[in-house]
């Protein structure tokens, strides 16, 4: 409790900005080197982040390329006050449970455009696909992958689907006027193996009349997602465009059963830029997928190529310039910090070879590695620390 109370105290101290005009000179003299600028002059982290964001988005043009957002707020309080009586008993008994499917259906009419805009922005869809131009989805596609005879895997706004479940093209449903024309594009902004800025086209159907996807002209056949091993979660985006009329897609049509990854290179910005007089983005949904064993199959059987395997590399650490007389730095750690990695590795290898014999089986090491160091406390502390690291195989001694 005491800890909690102290947190509350600190909350006031840290969040409020008090005027310290009279204290400024004093601050500067005493603590300027340690503390930096005083409270109300220094920028907070929030200010700094806002500044970075502003600098990044200085030259970015953000246009609404979709349909205008309609005012969807409903003011039906009188209706609700009359109808709510039927829920009273269950509500007071704490048993009332709303039907999630019904909630979802009314959400699609009411809050869906706003909520899916926020999520698409959060997942960087507009940035990578449309070069910062955005749109509010007008309708919501019900996309479902058949997992087996019994189960389906629905697709929403960023949920995770395994590549095994996405082997076959999904079923797509949406409500629209039967006399309208639509184009469906499925692409992956992260999935291109050669160019990191390009997209990989997975599926493309043009000139869909009404909501029947099977009537459309298949411009590119379905290719299941293939996130390479070790690359984490990749995004796969479905965008549905509304056409003003039929469009001649003959120049964009890929060969039947197209497998070539270089032919499947795609750019949504280019595609949309070419047809923007006739196309308007109307619906959006996407999922994330990670490597699983079915990806091997895709690489070997469908794409017919060797499967690449990746690993994450951490960025290097920052080190300030080395000084001759460092202030308050332990000399052993400070000098180790600026040594060349190759020297350290050589030292470790020499240490390792001392204990390795070609005529003896490799030993697994002592059961209690610190036991042999017990009682040697007369050595200086830096040497004791060094011995401890070696005994426990820490840091550079890991491979000992």
């Amino acid at each position: 409790m005491a800890h909690y109370a102290f947190k509350h105290l600190c909350k006031d101290l840290l969040t409020t900005r008090r005027t310290t005009q009279c204290l400024i000179p004093c601050y500067r003299l005493l603590y300027s080197s340690i503390r930096g600028k005083p409270h109300d002059i220094a920028r907070s982290l929030k200010d700094r982040l806002a500044e970075i964001k502003e600098r990044k988005e200085k030259d970015v043009v953000r246009n609404n390329i979709g349909f205008p957002l309609q005012n969807v707020g409903k003011h039906l309080d009188n209706k609700w006050l009359k109808e709510r009586q039927k829920y009273e008993k269950n509500s007071r008994l704490k048993k009332l449970e709303v039907n999630l499917e019904e909630v979802r259906q009314s959400w699609v009419e009411e809050q869906m455009p706003n909520h899916s805009y926020v999520l698409a922005e959060h997942y960087g869809i507009y940035k990578d696909l449309f070069d910062h131009c955005f749109f509010y989805p007008k309708l919501f596609m019900d996309i479902e992958y058949d997992v087996d005879e019994e189960f389906v895997m629905p697709l929403y706004l960023g949920n995770r689907i395994t590549p095994t479940e996405a082997q076959n093209p999904p079923h797509i449903k949406y409500n629209c006027d039967p006399n309208t024309w639509w184009t469906l594009v499925m692409s992956s902004p992260d999935g291109h193996l050669e160019k990191n800025d390009a997209e990989c086209l997975h599926w493309m159907i043009g000139n869909i009349s009404g909501s029947d996807v099977s009537t459309g002209e298949v411009l590119c056949d379905y290719l299941p997602p293939f996130p390479p091993r070790g690359t984490g979660l990749l995004r796969y985006v479905f965008v549905l465009y509304e056409q003003t009329g039929q469009i001649d897609y003959s120049s964009m049509k890929k060969t039947a059963n197209c497998i070539s990854l270089s032919e499947r290179t795609f750019s949504t910005v280019d595609f949309y830029g070419r047809c923007q007089d006739k196309l308007t983005p109307a619906a959006l949904s996407f999922f994330q997928a990670e490597w699983d064993p079915s990806v091997q199959k895709v690489f070997r059987e469908i794409l017919d190529m060797k499967e690449p395997v990746f690993e994450f590399i951490h960025p290097p650490n920052y080190h300030p310039n080395q000084t001759k007389y460092p202030h308050k730095q332990p000399f052993n750690l400070y000098l180790n910090r600026y040594r060349d990695v190759k020297d350290i590795q050589e030292e470790v290898l020499k240490e390792k070879l001392k204990n390795v014999s070609p005529f003896q089986p490799p030993s697994s090491g002592p059961e209690y590695p610190l036991a042999k160091l017990y009682g040697l406390s007369k050595k200086p502390s830096w040497q004791r620390l060094h011995n401890k690291h070696v005994a426990l195989k820490r840091h550079q001694w890991k491979d000992l």
């Binding site: 979660l233 994330q288 590399i313 600026y338």
Partner: protein, 215 residues
């Protein structure tokens, strides 16, 4: 553009034998025996000249967070509320409405559910009672899973134990398969020394360059 995720491409020649050897991990990974038999059925030679880029950049901004490699904001030790989270749960009961939100580290409200929405309100008797809190919890858990958020950070307060609304709300979230705990940040392993032959960051200004991870 800052590269979000960069990786090394391991020699694919090893794949011919169906074994993936990892440079740092020093272990062999399981492989599919079916590979040798399928390699005979060659469908096309379209990708014969296609060479994957040795440096793969995953542009998904949420990728590192879900693997817990992205560093969390640290804040101060005694700072309240704490800042070390990716997604945070917020629950608020005002004079008229019950609202629950999931907020990202960057102070963006990613997922929300409120009795202000007609979709939620139409099935309720009251916007403030315990069943409202419970249903808000169910709906929020549903929306989070649909948005790919499976884990959120819940900053527990002492007064929450005595609040039945809060308890019912949390129970509904857990029943909806939302985990109220986040993975800990996985820090890179520490090794002293600097590799002067590769890109390093010694004695420069703390400014990020794009090619740090590329070898």
């Amino acid at each position: 553009m800052v590269p979000l995720r960069l990786s090394r491409y391991f020699n694919p020649a090893v794949c011919d034998f169906g074994v993936f050897s990892c440079f740092t991990r020093q272990q062999t990974l399981p492989y599919h025996l079916g590979y040798l038999s399928t390699s005979a059925s060659v469908l096309s030679k379209d990708n014969k000249d296609f060479k994957p880029n040795p440096v793969f950049i995953n542009r998904n901004p949420r990728c590192l967070e879900q693997a817990a490699i992205a560093p969390k904001r640290q804040g101060w030790t005694l700072q309240y509320p704490t800042k070390n989270y990716y997604y945070k749960l917020k629950f608020e009961v005002t004079h008229r409405h019950t609202t629950a939100e999931v907020e990202h580290n960057t102070e963006v409200v990613v997922v929300s559910a409120s009795t202000k929405e007609w979709a939620v309100k139409q099935g309720l008797y009251s916007t403030l009672d315990i069943s409202a809190a419970k249903n808000i919890g169910r709906i929020l858990a549903d929306r989070c899973l649909q948005a790919g958020i499976t884990q959120v950070f819940y900053d527990e307060k002492p007064e929450d134990i005595n609040s039945e609304k809060m308890q019912v709300f949390l129970k509904a979230l857990q029943d909806g398969q939302l985990v109220l705990e986040e993975l800990d940040y996985v820090a890179p392993p520490f090794k002293p020394g600097i590799d002067y032959s590769k890109p390093n960051r010694v004695g420069e200004k703390k400014k990020w360059q794009d090619d740090y991870q590329i070898e």
